[in-house]
C-alpha cells in the first residue's frame, strides 16, 4: 500500500495549505506539523475524502495493485479511519451504541462484543459508559471513543488529527498502541503541534 500526494493544495478563497507533496509506504507513519492555521486539519480532511483538493492530487495505491492507477480517497472511504477534534459522534447514544451503529452501516457484524472489546482497548471499561449517553462523558473519554471509532473497521489509512488532545498519560499510551497496531495494517498520518504526538512519526512534512 502507498499514499502519494502531489502538489496538493486547498483554498477557501485564500490558501489553506499547500502545495505539498509526499509519499508514504505501508507500515510508516507520516507526521504533519505546522502552526495553528497552517492547514493541518484541512489536509487531513482532503486525505480522508471529506474535502476536494483545490489543486494537485492524492492517490491511494492498494496492495497488489502496482504503481498504475491508484484510488481517489473518495472512492475508498471504507478503507479510511479518521479521528479529529471536529469529529462528533452521536451524543444521545451511548459509546457502545455508537460503535454498533457504525459497524452496521459499514456492513460489519462484530456486534456488541466487538464494540465492548474496542472500548476496553482504548481504556474504557463497560462500567464507565454503559448507562451514559456519549454527550455525558468527559472530553477525554469522548476522545477515546473517537479513537475506537477510527479503528473500528481496521482501516488501511488511519488519519489522526491531534490524537493526544484532552488525553491523560494513560490515554497517550493508548494512542501509541493504536499507532503501533496500525503499522501492521497500513499507513498512519498524524497532524499535531504536540511533540509527543509527532514523535510517533517516521517522516514529517511541515505546513507553513
Amino acid at each position: 500500500m502507498r499514499l502519494v500526494a502531489e502538489n496538493l493544495s486547498r483554498s477557501f478563497g485564500r490558501r489553506a495549505f499547500g502545495p505539498v507533496s509526499f509519499r508514504v509506504e505501508a507500515g510508516r507513519v507520516l507526521g504533519v506539523a505546522g502552526e495553528n492555521g497552517s492547514g493541518k486539519t484541512t489536509l487531513l480532511k482532503v486525505l480522508a475524502g471529506l474535502l476536494r483538493p483545490s489543486g494537485g492530487s492524492t492517490k491511494i495505491f492498494l496492495e497488489g495493485e502496482g504503481s498504475a492507477g491508484g484510488h481517489d480517497p473518495r472512492d475508498v472511504m471504507a478503507s479510511i479511519g479518521w479521528c479529529a477534534p471536529d469529529l462528533s459522534l452521536y451524543g444521545e447514544l451511548t459509546a457502545e451504541e455508537n460503535l454498533i451503529f457504525f459497524e452496521k452501516v459499514r456492513g460489519r457484524v462484530g456486534g456488541p462484543a466487538l464494540a465492548k472489546a474496542l472500548l476496553a482497548e482504548v481504556g474504557l471499561p463497560e462500567s464507565s459508559y454503559s448507562k451514559k449517553a456519549l454527550g455525558a462523558l468527559s472530553t477525554g473519554q469522548r476522545q477515546r471513543v473517537k479513537l475506537a471509532f477510527a479503528t473500528l473497521h481496521e482501516p488501511d489509512l488511519l488519519l489522526l488529527d491531534e490524537p493526544g488532545a484532552n488525553l491523560d498519560e494513560a490515554g497517550r499510551a493508548i494512542v501509541q498502541k493504536v499507532v503501533a497496531s496500525q503499522r501492521l495494517r497500513g499507513i498512519t498520518v498524524i497532524a499535531s503541534n504536540d511533540p509527543r504526538d509527532l514523535a510517533l512519526s517516521d517522516e514529517r512534512v511541515t505546513l507553513s
Binding site: M1, A26, K45, A48, G49, L50, R52, L62, E63, G64, E65, H71, R74, D75, V76, M77, A78, S79, I80, W82, D86, L87, S88, L89, Y90, G91, E92, L93, E97, F101, F102, K104, V105, R106, G107, R108, A133, F149, H153, D156, R185, G186
Partner: protein
Amino acid sequence: MSAPRAAAGVFPAAIAVLRRELLAEWRTRVAVNSLFLFAFAVLVLVAYAVGPTRLSPEDRPTVNAVLLWVVLFFSAMTGLSRTFVHEEDAGTAAALRLSAPPPAVLLGKLLANVALLGAVTAFVVPLFVVLMGFEIRDLPLFVVLLLLGTFGLASASTFTAALVSKASAKGTLFAVLAIPLLLPPLVGAVLATRVAATEAELSAGLDFARLLVAYDGVVTTAAFLLFDAVWRE
C-alpha cells in the same frame, strides 16, 4: 492493504440509519415535540375559528380539505428538515459520510421522516375529522391520498433538507426551496381530498391519486440520483 472494500449493503445500512434516527428521536423528542405541538395548536385554532358549524355544507369539503393539508404541510415544514440539518450542526455528518453508503443515508432518513409524518398524520386526521365534522364519503380513496401525500411531503422535505444542510441560512433556504417543490402535490392532494369528501367524481379523485404516484416517483428517484453529489460535496 487489500483491494477496495465492498460498500455495506444499502438496505441493512438504511435500516441501521432508520433505527438510530428513531432511537435518537425517542430519547430527545425534539422533532416529535415540535411537529405534534404545532399540529395540535393549529388544529385547536382552526376548530375554534372555523369549526364545523360556520361552514355551509357546500363549502365544507373544500375548506376542510385545504385546512387538513395546510396542517400537514406546515407540520412537515416544521420538523422534517432537522434530519440532515442536525447532522451538520452537531458535527456528526463527517462520521456518517465516512461510514455509510450515501443511498443508505438517504433511504434511512427518508423512512424516518415518513414514520414521523405518518405518526403526525395518524394523530391529526382523526382529531380533525371529529373537531371539524369532516365527512369522508370515499374512505379507501382518502386513505390512499393520505399515504401518497404524506410520502410525497416526506420525500421532498428530506431531499430539500439534505440540499440546505450545509448552508448558513438553513431555515430560510429550506422554506424557499421546499415550498415550490411541495406545492404541486399539495394542490393535487387538496383537490383529491375534496373529491373523497364529496364522492362527486371518483374518477377525478383517482386521476389525482395517479398524479401523486407520479410526483412521489419522480421526486424520490431524482433524490436518489442527485443525493450522492449533494451529500459528498
